[in-house]
Structure formats: C-alpha cells, structure tokens
Symmetry: C2
C-alpha cells in the first residue's frame, strides 16, 4: 500500500487529480481536479481505495497511520472554512460518500450531516439562525445513520418493514398526522426538536444502544459503513452485471457539508454539459429550490428546468434556474463550459447553491444513451474537439445497439389507446406484461415472459428486476432519477415520472383515470416519446438514416480492418443489410427456401426427393426442385451485385423436412402417392438420437452427390444468368461441417465439374470460389490439409462451440445459466467466443494460411455480431465477420475499436 492513505482537496489546491481514479475513485479524483482548476468545491479529503482493500484483507480494521492522516486532513478543512468539527459554536458538518473507480449509482452508502449532536446543533442554530433547518438536518442524520451504520453495518437484519429507518419514518408520519399536515416542511422547529428526542428513544429501544453523540464516533462509523457497503449485496450484484472486478475497492470522500436547503436563496441541481438523451449540444439540467442533492436524484419531487433548453412538457411553467438565480447560473454555465473543454467530453455535474453561493459537488463523464453518444461523438469530431479515433472510442457497441432497437410501429401507435405519458428516459419500443415488483419481474422473465416493471420509483434493490424486464415505467422521478440512469446505461426502454399513474402495488394493478391495468396485462411503451399504450402494439425496426449515425459509422470504417458481411437468406434481408453497410453476404443458407412463406412448392419437391426409392426417382425430384432453387439464389445474388455471397450447401439432416406427427405424415404420403406406413417407416429410419452430430452437412453431400450437384448447378447457372444481364455475381460456395480434407475435395470436385459444364454450355467464365465452413474441432486441426483445395474458410462458431464443449445448444439451457451464475464459465460461450474455441480458431487460421497465405477467412456464427468476439476475430487475423443485418453497424464499430484498442 502507498504511504499516503488520505488525499486532501480544497483552498485552490489538491493532493490528487483526475488521473488518479484507481486510487481515489472517480468522485474523489474529479473533486481534486476541479479544485486544481480553481472551481469552488467544498473542501474535504479522500480515503483511498487501497485502504478499502486493506480493510477487507485485515478483518475490517484500518492501517495504524490512518487515524492521524484523517485528523490532519480534517484540520485542513477546518482551517480552510474557519469551522471546527464537533465545536459547539462554529461546528463543521461533513458528508461521507463512497466513490469507486466506475460510477455505481446508489449501490453503496452515504451519510450526510455527520458531526451533528445536541451541542453542535445549538452552535449551528446560533450561526444559521434557523432552528427548523438544523433539527431537520439532525433527524435526517439520525434516520440515515441509524439505518446505515447502526443497523446495516452492524449486520442486523430486521424483518421486512421493521428496520430502524422505517420505524423512525413511522414516527415522522405519526407526528405529521397529529399535526394534520402532509409535508415535512409544515412541521415546526419545535415539532422537529421533539421528533429528535423521540428518535433517540426509538433508536435505544429498537437497537438497544444510544445514538452516538461523539462526532468522531459518527465519522468513523460512517467511514466504516461506506467501506462495508463495497461488499454489500446490492454492490456485488451490480458488479456482476457490469463485469466490474471486486479488487477495485471504493474510496471514501469526506467533505464539508453545504446546504441547498438552508435558505430561500439556496438550491441544488444536477446537470449535463450536453443533453444526455439526444446529444444536443446545449447545457441541460434540473434543479430544486431549497433542497438537498439527494432530493433530485431520488425523484421525490418533479424538478425544475435548469434553463429553456431543459424545459419539457412535464416541467410546465416551473421556474428555471437562470431566471430565479441568474448570477449563480451564469457562474455555473461558465464552469460547465470550461469543464467540458478541459475534459473533452460531456460531463454530468452536481451543484448546490447555499445562500446564493455556488458549490460544485461532483463532476464526471456523463452517462448518455445511444443516440446521444453517437451524436456527441460525431459533433465533437466535426468541431475538432476530439480526433476521429477518439470519437470512435466514445460510443460503446451497446449504445450503438440502442439506435437499432425496434420502435413502436408509428401507424399502429396512431390508433392505439394512450394510457399515460412520462419522461422519455430510455429509447425504443417494448411490449410486455405488467408486473409490480422486482421479484415478480425476475420470476416471470425466468419462465419466458416479457415483462414491463411498473414502480412508483425504482431503487437499487430493484436492479435484478429491472434487468429482467424489457422496459421500466415509473410514476415519479426525472431524467436523472435512478430508473432513468440505470435504463440509459443499459440502453433499455424506460419511461419515468408518469405522474398520473395510480399504482396499487399490493393489489397488483394500476389505474389512470378510469382505465385499470392488472398484473399480467399487456402494455406497450414508446420510450423515445415517453408514451404508454394499452395492449401489445407491433414493433418496427428503426430507420437508420440519421446523419449522425452514418457520419459516425464512416469514422469507424476509416479505422477498421475487418470487412463486415451479413447473414441473409433473401433479397429483402440483403437489401436491409446493404443499408446497414454490409459488404457482402457471409452466410446464405440454401435450405431457407424450404421454410416459411412461399416454401410449399420447393419443400414438396424436397420431400419427394427425400422419400425417393431410387437414384432415378431422387434425380427426378431434384430436377423439379432445380428452377425454384436457381431463381431463389439468383435474386439474392442480384441484390448483392458486385459483392461476394457465401452460399452454404444444404446443412440440416433430412428428417427435419419430414412431418413428425402421424397426421402430417399421412397427408404427405397422400400427396406423394406413396403408402402411409412406408412413409412412416422411412421417417422413423431417418430419425436420429443426436441429430446435431448426425447425417447432415457435407455428410449428406457424400451420400447423395446428386444433391450437391443440383445445388452447384443452381448457384452457377444463376450466376451465369446474371452475368449475361451484365450483373457481377460473386458466389462463394461453402461446404458445411467438413471434418476431413477428403470430404471437402469430394464435394469440391463435384462443384468444379459442374462449373466447367456451365461455363462450356453458357460460353462464359464464372467468378466463384469453393471453400468450407470450419465448425468441427477436427477441421481446425486439419486446416493445413483442407486449405490445399479450399479457397476460403468461414468459421461456424455456433457448431464449433457446441462440439468443443460438448454442449448442445438445444439442451444446455438445463445447466448453462447455472454455469454462468456460479462463474464456472465467464460468459455464455454461445454469445461470446470462449478461449478454448478461440484457440482452435487460431490453430485453424495458422495452419490454413501456412498452406495458402491468401486464404480468405471469416466467421458466420452468432459471434460475428458480438463486439468482444469481433475483437478476437480481428486479433486472430480474419478477413471479415458476418452477422445479422441489424448487427452490421455494431460489427463495424467493434471492428474499428478492435484496431484502436490494438
């Protein structure tokens, strides 16, 4: 551990700076930086994250030197402000806050007003002249401290609703009832003084000990409670979800209290240097008169707009800060400008105005949703504020994903029943069944339901439920409330502050006017507009014409080295993927034509082929199938004119195409004019115990070379026909499931022979490749041999992951979630490429390229659209990734970031 355990800030100088986040946490580092910039910050000090780790490694004790360092730092604060901690005349009060390397909003503990006791109260009353404010501060301290320090940190686990905080709040409610008032603010100073006495007795009664009067005992209790909360249940759960390491630890920030709730010329607020929901370059924020910062974040009161930019339909005619407090606002505006310039990024700042004087309490890189991230990156690059490379790094793949989320179909929306409006806190559309508790959200989601979590307001205890939901709707809170912050971070559809909602959680229903929605009813949210509709509305993919998006993606394209293709089976998919920037098709599954709309006729011929009793019958059925197949392939090749199209030969086992129930079999038998029992017998013969490892892929092509021949003919004649029209067709014919070089050459010979025939017959020269999917572990080992004839490899990482792990995708649901939960695996290997699978991929690339240095190599499994996996593919030296059309932009970004992270 470093010698220094405490870093001071204040009075124009600071021990730390913004570069020291690992040691001081984000909050502490940025407070120090602001002080260094000459910005008004209440003085204080930061106890380092190393102390947190020491604390956890040493049985929750502290290094010996810490006490002295804290006293020294506190003395500096006292000197700076001319106050004294625990002094009965000019008492110093402090806040004790957590601050980890990354923001973990609301996941750890905070204690305010530390240092208040009967003696210092008197001093503070004398100084402020406002006894009501002081007793209110004292009862707030008691509520917070008895809960956080005396109960939670002591490991006491009261029954639901019987915690000390709830019991004290109950006393407050009783008092308000007795006085016949509804607002705290209507209680008098005497009422609150009496309440403090009641609280003291209640604490003694419930927790069996006195509320500490010693300010130093309060301070150390608070510091310890914050350190302990690093390993609290909520914080651990949050770290799991966000993938943050336990070893980081939290710092503790002890800072002189300033009071936004002191007098009429006091206020508090939260702001962003640009609009975090749209990216617009305008100072944006919310404030509350005579309030503490916690009141804004907690979303208890609907906040006022900071300025005209920040005004929404919900802020109505609430006064803006620039109107009410013009001087501090001007100062604030200057500070935010200089901060953004200094940090070269959009910032999230917290401020308090105490009796007309502005104090900055926090500044950090501001969270933003996807559209805002893209717009900011594009505009900051355009203005020269950041380089193109920096701009590319400013948008995370999941943020970009938000832009690509479905939206509520606008036509359907026009006709829909609007239930309620709220703040558009998370973009996109979502439909789901209403649930009223986080636990219910988790439970319903586990059994496969899409749920919308509806809450008065959310709090950190709700995180798991919020994660499980497809959307969040709250009745209270603003754009910086807990629900809004969390949803924005996750790119999740979210509407907050829908004040007309009357939620009856115990009865599991809510009503708006005379409309009642019960648990399980369907609702649809338009998170971009903040509208909630009854029932399930159709969703539509977003239209990605945004100028910012295309500009941003052009920045990505400037850096990336990987090509990005798409997995597409139809001209429509191909067209959409082209709009998303696809540079070809990496996977066209030839069997798609036997599924879904329009598949009746080709499927019938295929079935006839499967049921054929002889090679001749099979050939006749294939001949009937041929024109369908050729036309189908040709139209996708046409849509991708001039770009490569990888066409995979038939992959599924034949039994997939035969009905399994007796009725379907009987119908098919009749249609084919064959005996029903014969058909059933043949279907039974085709049945497999482990179809994933059965008679499929290239194995079909070896048993039935005429099927390969048909496909080769359909592809190559389609290409020849387009060529005759003057359209460049670049088919890449892909043999699936190859395990040995002989399998591949067997098929390759057929394709080459057919190609020679087609070229001779049509008098043309075709531009095509023959290669193979690498999806069998053995193929990666034999890649050197296979590459002797294969012109390209495309990694089928779905199957490769299955075989490498021996995990059936269809069946692993029975244990895989538990594997991730128990950290037996770091992630679902079907979502993010596993290290073992990755090693096989690398072996295959190395051996393949050793034989054929210009071997074209790509990936066409689901992983092709997963950013971490794209980074792997770049590092492994692939030529391209291929993914679903909607993942193409993500892959373009991930490929660029892979280069920049290089």
């Amino acid at each position: 551990m470093k010698a220094e355990t405490v870093y001071s800030f204040g009075g124009g100088s600071a021990d730390g700076d913004a570069g020291m986040k690992n040691l001081l946490g984000g909050k502490g580092a940025n407070l120090a930086e602001m002080v260094q910039l000459g910005i008004p910050v209440p003085p204080g000090f930061t106890i380092t994250t190393e102390v947190c780790n020491w604390f956890n490694d040493h049985d929750q004790s502290y290094p010996k030197s810490l006490d002295g360092s804290v006293r020294k730092a506190l003395a500096a604060v006292e000197a700076e402000l001319g106050l004294k901690f625990g002094d009965s005349t000019r008492p110093l009060l402090v806040s004790v806050r957590s601050g980890a390397r990354a923001s973990m909003p609301g996941m750890m503990e905070t204690v305010l007003n530390v240092g208040l006791n009967d003696a210092t109260c008197e001093g503070l009353i004398a100084e402020s002249g406002d006894a009501r404010f002081v007793y209110d501060a004292q009862r707030r301290l008691m509520q917070m401290y008895s809960d956080v320090v005396m109960e939670k940190a002591a490991g006491i686990k009261p029954a639901e609703g019987e915690g000390i905080r709830a019991q004290l709040e109950h006393e407050l409610e009783k008092l308000k009832e007795k006085r016949g008032v509804t607002d705290d603010t209507d209680l008098s100073a005497d009422d609150l003084e009496a309440l403090v006495v009641t609280y003291r007795a209640k604490v003694r009664e419930v927790l069996g000990k006195e509320f500490p009067e010693d300010p130093w005992e309060q301070l150390w209790g608070a510091i310890t409670a914050v350190f302990l909360s690093w390993n609290g249940k909520r914080a651990i759960a949050y770290r799991r979800i966000e993938g943050l390491p336990d070893e980081w630890g939290t710092a503790v920030n002890v800072q002189a209290m300033v009071f936004g709730n002191l007098s009429e010329d006091s206020a508090t607020g939260v702001a962003f240097t640009r609009n975090p929901a749209t990216g617009e370059n305008a100072f944006y924020g919310e404030w509350l008169p005579q309030a503490q910062g916690e009141d804004v974040v907690a979303g208890i009161r609907t906040p006022n707009p900071l300025n005209s930019h920040s005004r929404t339909e919900y802020s109505g005619d609430l006064p803006s800060l620039d109107d009410v407090h013009p001087a501090p606002y001007r100062e604030l505006d200057e500070i935010q400008r200089s901060l953004e310039k200094h940090y070269r990024d959009m910032l999230d700042i917290e401020f308090t105005i105490q009796s007309g004087r502005l104090w900055m309490l926090q500044c950090r890189i501001g969270k933003r949703n996807g559209p805002a991230a893209v717009r900011m990156a594009a505009e900051m690059e355009q203005s020269g504020q950041v380089s193109a490379a920096e701009a590319v790094m400013r948008v995370s793949p999941s943020q970009l994903d938000e832009l690509l989320h479905p939206i509520v179909d606008p036509e359907a929306e026009k006709m829909a029943t609007l239930l309620v409006s709220g703040l558009p806190a998370g973009p996109g559309g979502a439909s789901g069944r209403v649930v009223f508790t986080a636990d219910d959200a988790v439970e319903w989601a586990t059994r496969g339901e899409q749920v919308v979590l509806v809450r008065e307001e959310t709090n950190p205890e709700d995180v798991a439920g919020m994660r499980a939901a497809v959307a969040i709707l709250t009745a209270r809170g603003g754009m910086t409330s807990h629900a809004a912050l969390v949803a924005r971070g996750w790119g999740m559809c979210c509407i907050v502050g829908a004040g007309e909602l009357e939620i009856d959680a115990p009865a599991r229903r809510f009503s708006v006017g005379d409309h009642t929605v019960a648990e399980g009813d369907l609702v649809t949210l338009n998170g971009t507009a903040g509208k909630v509709y009854a029932g399930e509305l159709p969703l539509r993919e977003t239209d990605v014409s945004s100028e910012y998006l295309s500009y941003f993606l052009s920045l990505c394209d400037r850096h990336r080295e990987l090509k990005v293709r798409t997995n597409a089976d139809t001209p429509a998919d191909a067209q959409r993927a082209l709009e998303f920037g696809a540079e070809g098709i990496g996977l066209f599954r030839i069997e798609h034509m036997f599924y879904g709309e329009g598949s009746e006729e080709p499927l019938f011929h295929l079935r006839k082929m499967i049921m054929a009793g002889s090679r001749e019958e099979r050939q006749a059925a294939l001949d009937e199938l041929y024109p369908h197949m050729k036309d189908d392939i040709r139209e996708t090749l046409r849509a991708m004119a001039g770009l490569p199209v990888t066409i995979r030969l038939m992959d599924p086992p034949l039994h997939e195409f035969i009905p399994h129930e007796p009725k379907g079999q009987a119908q098919l038998a009749e249609a084919l004019g064959i005996d029903g029992t014969e058909l059933a017998r043949r279907a039974e013969q085709l049945r497999e115990t482990n179809p994933m490892m059965g008679h499929r892929g290239v194995r079909l092509g070896i048993t039935y070379p005429e099927i390969t021949e048909l496909q080769a003919k359909a592809i190559l004649i389609a290409a020849a026909e387009l060529q005759a029209e003057g359209i460049a067709a670049l088919p890449e014919i892909m043999v699936p499931l190859t395990a040995t070089e002989a399998e591949f050459t067997h098929q390759e010979k057929i394709v080459r022979r057919v190609a020679g025939d087609v070229e001779a017959a049509q008098g043309c020269k075709l531009d095509y490749l023959v290669g193979t999917m690498i999806e069998i572990p053995r193929a990666t080992l034999m890649a050197g041999k296979i590459a002797e004839t294969a012109e390209f490899f495309s990694y089928g990482t779905n199957d490769l992951t299955q075989m490498t792990f021996g995990f059936s995708r269809d069946d692993s649901g029975g244990f895989l979630p538990e594997y991730v939960e128990q950290e037996i695996l770091p992630a679902d290997p079907f979502a993010t490429l596993d290290a073992g699978v990755g090693e096989l991929i690398s072996i295959g690339i190395e051996r393949g390229r050793a034989t054929r240095p210009d071997l074209k190599i790509g990936i066409c499994g689901e992983h092709g659209g997963d950013p971490a996996s794209v980074a792997f593919c770049h590092a492994a030296g692939m030529d391209y990734v291929s993914c679903s059309p909607f993942r193409v932009p993500i892959a373009r970004l991930a490929a660029a970031q892979a280069v920049l992270n290089g």
Copy 2:
C-alpha cells in the same frame, strides 16, 4: 527404376535372395534363397515389382530393355536344363506366376504349361512317351490361357456362365458324357487330342481370334496378364481388406515346369514345418499322387497325409508320402529342417516329385492360426531358436485374439444335434443363419444378421462374403484350401471338407442324410473340433489357462512399458480381468448398478431421486440409495485389492433412467405414489434433443452437488471399510465430461471435503486420487489448467472422437461405412484412434504434464484394446491403457510390440 529388371535363379546360384522381397516379391525372393542354399528348385527368373509399377505408369507397356533381359534369362534356364523354349524336340515349358511382397493367395493370375503348341507337343510326347499327359497339359493351357489372357486381360466381360473357360469346360463335359465316363482321367489320349482341336475352334468362335501357337506370344501374354491382375477387382478388394498398399506391385515368376502328374512316381504336395493349426513341432502336410500343385490347393480331391503326424480322421487309411515315396520324403524332411533352421520360423513349402525327383516350388513363412502362433513363439523362444523380443513380434494381436474367441459351450454341445463333421480349419465357435452365396452373406450381414456362409468350396470371388460371415462351412477342400487359408488368416471360425453335405445352392438349402437346412436356419459351428450342429448353441468364452499363452504373455510383459487395466463394473468382471493379467480397473462406471440383474432396488431409489420435487426429497432418496452403492463399490474394490480402481461418477443424462413409454411411466408413478401426468410432464421436461451433448457427466454434479457427495461418500466409506479389514483399496475418483477447470475443481472440492469427513469419522487415512476423464475437445486444450488440481487424466476416446468429428456414434451408421468404403477416412475412428483425435490427446498430455510432471494418464475408451491405438498411447507417453477383460491380453501384446517397434 533399377537397371536390373530380371533376376535369374537356378543351377546353384541366384541373382536375388530372401532379403529382396520388395523387389522380387515373396515367392521370387524365397526361390532365389532356396537356390542359394543348394535346394533343388526348377530354374527360372523373376521380373521385378518395379516393372509392374513401370507397366502401370506407362500405359501398360514395358521398359525397352526388358525383352532382352527376359530372353537372356530364359536362355540360362534352357542351358541349365538342356531344353529349348518352343523347340519341337526337347521343348521347355514354363509356368508364369504372380508374387507380391505379401502373399495374396489366389488373388492374381497364373498360367501353366506356357510354350505348348502343336509342334512342342510332338516333342514332349516323344520325350515323355505319354501322349495323354501331353494333350491334357495342352488343353489345360488352352483353358487357362484363353480365360486369363485372351478374355480377362483383354477386358472382355462375358455374361455369367458364358466365359470362354466355362464354354471349354462344357466341351469337356460333353466329351465325357459321349464317352460315358465321369473322370477326366478316363479320357484317352485320342479323346484329348480331339478336344484340343475342338477347343481351338471354340476359341476362334467365341473370342474371334486364333489361340496363339507362338510360344513367345504365349509367354508375353501370360506375363502381361499377371501384371494386369495386380489391378484386378479381386486383388484390389483383398488389398483393401488387408490394408496393403497399391504401390507395392507384383513381381512375375517365370519358371521351368515340373510335372507331379507325369507318371506313377510323380506327386505333388504342400507342407508346413510345424502344424499350422496347433503349433505342434512336427512336420505336417498333404500330398496327392500324380497331380499338379493346383489340385491340392483347389481342394478338389481330399489329399493324402504326408506322414503319421499329418494323419487325421478324414485322411483315414490313405497312404502317406513317407510310405509311398520314402526317398524323396527323406530328402524333403531334410530340406524342411534346414529351411526352418535357416529362416528361424515355421515355413509353408510346396514341392513336386517328377518321376521320383524332388523339386521345391515355393517356401514362405507359413500362415498359422492364433493358438499355433502362440505355441510356436513360446517354444521357439524356449528352445533358443528366437529371442524373447522376436517371439513377441511373431504373434499378431488378431492371432492372439483367436485364443480369446468364444467356444461352443461343451455341455450344450453334448446334447446338440450333430449335422456333419469336417476339417477344423478355423478355431472357436460361432452361430448364425445359413446363406449360400457371398452376396447374400454381405446383404444379410448389412442388415445385422449373423450369417454362416455355406459353399461347395470357396474361391477368391467370395472374399467379401466370407468377411461378412461369422463362420464358413465348405463341403470340399482340405486344410490348405482357399477357405481354410483365408479363415485362418482372419482368425475366423471355419470348417472345410464336410463331404457329407449335399448343397443345393439354387434352392437355398443343404441336406445331410434326411436333415435339411434352409437359408436362414440357424446352425452352430465348433471350428476347433470341426463339428456342425443344428440350431443355435450357447457360446462360452475360452479358458485361457494354456501354458503357452501365459508363457508368451510373460514375454510380452518383459518388454512393455504401458500398464494394462480393465474396464469392469462387477467383482466377476474384475476377477476375470485379473486372470487375463489386468493391473487395475481403468473404468468402473458407477451407473452400472442401475442396469440389469439386481438393479431393481437401486434403480427405484435413483428414479425417486430424479422425480424428487425438492432438495429434501432428493436427499432422502439419495440416503436410501447410499448403502446399495457403497456395498456395490466395496465388492469390486475388494476384488481388486491392492490395485488402483478408477471409479467414474454418474455420467448418463437422468432421462436415461426414466421409462419412455406411457405404460412404464404409469407403473413408476404408482410405485412412487405421484401423479401420472406429473411424472410424464417431468419425463418430457428431461427429454433432450441431443442427449450426448446434454445434461450429463460433471454437469449433473454441478446442478446436483448432493449426487456427487453421495457417490464420494459411498466410494470413500467403502474404501475405509476395506481398510478396516486390512485390505488395500485404491480408489481413483473420476469426474466425467470436464470441459473447464472450474467444473473439475467444483467437484474435486466436494470429494475432498467428504474424504476429510470420512477420515475424521473413521479415524483413518485414505489412499485415493481425484482426477478427470478427458473426453471433451476443450478439456485437451485446457489440460494445463485442469492438471493444477486433477491428479490423473483418463482419455474417454469414445466421446472425444464423437466431439472432435461431430459424429454421433448412434447415428453415424448412416454415413460412416460409406466414409471408410470411399476412403474418406482410413478407418472407423471409433475403432482405431484418428490422427486428429490423437493430436488433441497429445496436446492434452503435453499441457497436463507441463503443469504436473507426474500426472497419471490413461485411456478408457474402446480404443484401449485396439492394437494400433495402444501403439499410439505408448508413443504419446500414457501410463496405462484400459480395455474390456477379454482385450487385456491383446493390449499386453500390443503394448510390448509398441516398444519393440519403437
């Protein structure tokens, strides 16, 4: 190519010797060797195998120099014998025979009596004074030559039964009918002279050209026919089965004819320097008076015994050679002794006595069956004739396997209906359905039937059918007939020369006396005794107490480095394996106790556990299961006292233990006292699409740690109980299906904890290991990590092969045979370790040992008993192989040979 294309032998000197098999073929090299040893051999010369390859590479033409070399070599033969090829007074006749590096009995062509034409006939008649003999020789030449050279080698493919040979034989039959005789020998010289004229006309009519009179044309035609036959259908099929490479080519041996059929003091025979069926050290053979060698091999006449050792119940009182021709016999006996001493191995020799003079026509290492091979190896080593290492290399694993074949249960045999007796040509017992053609044998076998192929006699066209059968029964032929030779080579049950059989092949039945057996009827053969029984008799494993076997295996043990364990699930299996020399158990499958006899009660508890609705119910069922499991394990540990026993934790998916049909489910529901629909629902829930890659192995142990705990407890308490009895128990607890190190450590922790508990409770120190099966490709890559905690690896090569190839064992029957057939794979990878799987194994060993140099490594898949795979395991550095009890001796031999092949 070497400059020399022709190697001469004769007159006491030879260009070649026995070391030149690759160039001269086996026959040519040994003829040269015999000449060099001063043994009487008809002079001749060998055209090398390189000429064969040249011939095939050059459009079936010959190198220019060949003609001159052949003329020169033939001139030397003429000089040696004082004869002249094509001369009308003292004509030289020659045989033209194939001779590859390895013996390919009957697979290539032979032409005898080359050089006979009308002119040389006259000379030969004058010289021999036996016109009948000469015309008979001429008509034999014409039959053979017109078939082999003029028809087959010319590529003419006549309809079935319309080949020239059949048509000429038909003329012979017609003539015999006309003369009212049944034997060829009853035809007169005039008859045969006329027949030659008829033949000449028939050849002209059928083949459209003259039978060649030019001896040189005859000679080159015959040489070319032999070279062509290397790539004939039969020869290719035989090489496939035997795994011989096409590149070897055949040599051609041209040798002066000697005639065993010339006069009354002429004879011919085949002999072995030791008994090839028993290994007994006694000169053994068969002969025919006034016959050619072909007559013995073809099995047309039942041969006479060579001497008293060779007399069997079938040779009755036929005269022996030592009685009839004592002088040549004595000479022959001396020659065979000197030859065996020279070659230091048992030899197969062919001889002809022409007019009282002995000629050796062939000598080669004699084929022998398994029991004979073992006895000879043991006795030759004991007598100092060969070293221990040589003795070990003298027995092939498949020969050893013969000793371990089942035999007909002797008790059942006593009561059975004997149909017929014959010569015991291939040992062991076999039961199967009777078929009458090779094609039927293949077809029936393909659909899973065990068939016994019943034929008058077999010929090389029948090879595929013989291979497909479980046993062969012929009505004619001796111990050196085609059927006997082939069956012996394959270690197959075979009875030949069962002369009482009346076979009606077209009607698909045979009769013996008044007993008729139709196609599809079951028969049982005792190949060791030569007895055929009606119906299916029980077979019994052989009793391997033979002194020769145990001595031979002790020689193996002296050389091998691999330990050999067994896969055994019961004390009985363990006991048997110990008798076979097993040094521990490599795979004890804990789930065996839920299958078969005595499994009702444990299976019921297991099912109760599977259907349990809560952890508590599950635990209760496990508690009931515990004593069964513990006792079961203890008794196998007891049987293996002092030897390691690898116990694999539960591997199969749970649905394997639940009935799948409604009736079974209803019964189970009633027995368990739960609702039938609930049970069906749960069974359906457990069902998997690809169970091989589903919820099984270690995955079960992670989901249900209590199951692992139960097993650990049962194993370790069983060990503790034995320890208390003073019996050393060495369990090695094996976690199946590990893919990640975290899976393993999860289970290992449970086992260690239970072990600690048991040791504490019982006050003992247990001697156990915890390790894992390596059967998932990923595990081989992660072996370095896994070995951090795993104390041993056991390769489960069945599953590893499945996953590495993506071949489901259950389903690959649909394509795998075709893969081997089409040479897409060199062998069934489930029988012999594949190179790709082998690479993964090696990676795993290397990485595992890098972490833990003393990591114990073995194999427990089916491959552990496959000799080629055992050699791989040795080379890869494993510590042991484990295989089924009956494969243990094979593995001991293969392990020793792996060292010696070094």
